[in-house]
Symmetry: C2
Subunit: 231 residues, 2 copies
């Protein structure tokens, strides 16, 4: 009988290493192997957050993804990452996959889970999402009891964003990157600029929080978002 | 010169005391006063989670709300709660408001913040939401990169739920309580029953996770929700 390792998705929170949970810390302290995504070979934020909690001898599995991969390239990278994780699981080693924010909320972990589920025991440690952290930084309630709340990727079409914003009482628009002008135009047409707050690199040392109307540059980093809430 | 205390909204996570963040623990250890909502005078889950981290001498401010208050009654209760918190802040004492899940995501803290903001320094510690914890329990990704995700209170009208579900790639329907049959009917009409997972009392000792189609009772607790995700 071979006992395989567990696949553990670990949310390490939005950036501030203190926004990690006790449960994640306990998993990291004992993890014999950790895996993480590195976009474009750049240092992984999740790896940075987890670093201070990891045992010294944890094996590291770095999965490299290009910055804006085609779905074929992403598919191949997740497939290769899943096989490398699988090799450790087969040897009975637990593998903790380090996930910025929460593992199952717009992260890469879902793609690894989809490839490995059913074959290995799975455990998932939820984490604090950048959406909740952005609301905390802006001191702005995301949603009240009876409200409909949406999370919309800025990559959607102008029409798609527009329709869904109209059906929402409050929203977060994520992954702004190069889509800021399109998003600004949608918000202006719906008279929502006054309710829009821009948040960049939330909880990190370079965090910025400001009314969207005061943002004067067009090139926003990938890790930026807009809150549209009741004010 | 009088130095007032800070109003601190502290997310303590969805139920499992290990799903609290390091940051929340640090705040609770030093909090001279804590406030929390008690629905119908019942024990507060947030108070229970925080208990093991609180210093022994913290003053407690219990704010009682009836179970399904009218907006006038809720208004009066939040108003009275805010004044009691205010009295401590005026004496220079920090008050940590204990919030289940995240403080600004469908919680009561927004109502207290709205009444006290601008008068006192504010700090907010985001927490793990029951939405992310439910996805972790179900081992089901909530949303992938390009998807539109909605959070919908089951208290909405059938038409409101229906329209918004159609515009979403994935959704969570919260606060089920007595609204299960309405929600089930909406999901059936859109052919979504196969994608619906029911989660009750997430991360607690009595947690239940099952396909919605296998749920055979109609009276669901308030702390239950349905995930509708890509499968």
């Amino acid at each position: 009988m071979v006992i395989t390792g567990r696949l553990i998705g670990v949310g390490v929170g939005p950036g501030d290493p203190d926004l990690i949970t006790m449960k994640a810390i306990k998993v990291l302290r004992n993890a014999p192997a950790v895996a993480y995504i590195s976009a474009n070979g750049r240092p992984s934020m999740a790896r940075y957050i987890a670093a201070q909690y990891l045992g010294g001898s944890a094996k590291e599995i770095k999965i490299t993804l290009p910055m804006h991969p085609s779905s074929e390239i992403a598919d191949a990278a997740y497939g290769e990452g899943a096989s490398r994780i699988s090799a450790d699981l087969e040897q009975g080693r637990d593998v903790a996959v380090l996930c910025e924010g929460d593992p199952l909320f717009y992260g890469s972990f879902g793609h690894l889970l989809d490839r490995l589920r059913g074959q290995y025991p799975v455990e998932i440690v939820p984490g604090v999402s950048s959406v909740m952290a952005a609301a905390a930084a802006a001191e702005q309630p995301l949603a009240y009891a009876a409200e409909a709340f949406s999370v919309l990727p800025a990559t959607m079409s102008e029409e798609g964003l527009s329709t869904r914003l109209k059906a929402s009482d409050a929203a977060v628009i994520m992954k702004l990157g190069r889509h800021l002008e399109k998003v600004r135009s949608v918000l202006e047409k719906q008279g929502l600029m006054e309710r829009a707050i821009y948040v960049e690199r939330v909880t990190g040392p370079e965090q910025k929080v400001m009314p969207l109307s005061e943002l004067d540059h067009a090139d926003t980093p990938y890790f930026s978002l807009i809150l549209v809430t009741r004010q």
